[in-house]
Amino acid sequence: MSNWFEIVLIIALILLSFSIVLVFIRILLGPSLPDRVISFDLIGTTTIGMIAIYSIITGVESYMDAAIILSLVMFLGAIAFAYYMNKNHKS
């Protein structure tokens, strides 16, 4: 791996961390529960990208398996929150 490519990857990681900070501000502000749910979803999606870039930096290919699993678990979390909101509304 050449030197400039590593610098590009670290800049990409810094930008993704910055976007997670922005999303976290929305979690703190968020006026309703669904706002916080989709913010949590976006944090998970950003984490998948961070894991992929980190697997390039370290050269460990197995980290991509964690990205696959995370992309499935985030969907389950969103569905569970939607089910909870539906149930809360009915009662």
């Binding site: 590009v8 993704l16 910055f18 669904p34 969907f75 509304h89 009915k90 009662s91």
Partner: protein, 130 residues
């Protein structure tokens, strides 16, 4: 050469994700926000995965990267649809400049299923889980 392609695609994807995060912070309404992050973040992560597949240059990593893209492309719109529907039904307000509300007209044109559920709330709960 492969590193140049990979770096360009990864930076484009990261910019998409950052734009999605700024949109989530700045846009005025829940429904506009969910539209912003569903499109922008999915395309951004897909671009990052394409960059990873280019860099490793192996068939196994390409399959893993495309598996992630496939799962995201399938699950992200479904999750956004379900959360948006649940949010509308639980009364999250629309933006004050919103003019078209076709879901409300659709609910009016249909015979209302909510009342029959309220009559027997215990039984019909498992029928419409989502």
């Amino acid at each position: 050469m492969i590193e140049i392609i990979s770096a360009v695609v990864i930076i484009v994807g990261v910019l998409f994700v950052v734009i999605g995060a700024v949109g989530l912070l700045r846009l005025p309404d829940f429904y506009i926000r969910i539209s912003a992050i569903t499109k922008a973040a999915t395309v951004g992560v897909a671009c990052i995965m394409i960059g990873v597949a280019f860099y490793f240059n192996e068939i196994s990593m390409a399959f893993k990267a495309f598996a992630v893209i496939l799962f995201l492309l399938i699950t992200s719109p479904i999750a956004a649809h379900i959360i948006g529907k649940a949010a509308y039904n639980s009364g999250v307000p629309l933006w004050k400049k919103t003019e078209i509300n076709e879901y409300e007209e659709y609910k009016k044109s249909k015979p209302n299923p909510e009342e029959s559920e309220n009559a027997s709330p215990g039984k019909s709960e498992s029928d419409n889980v989502i």
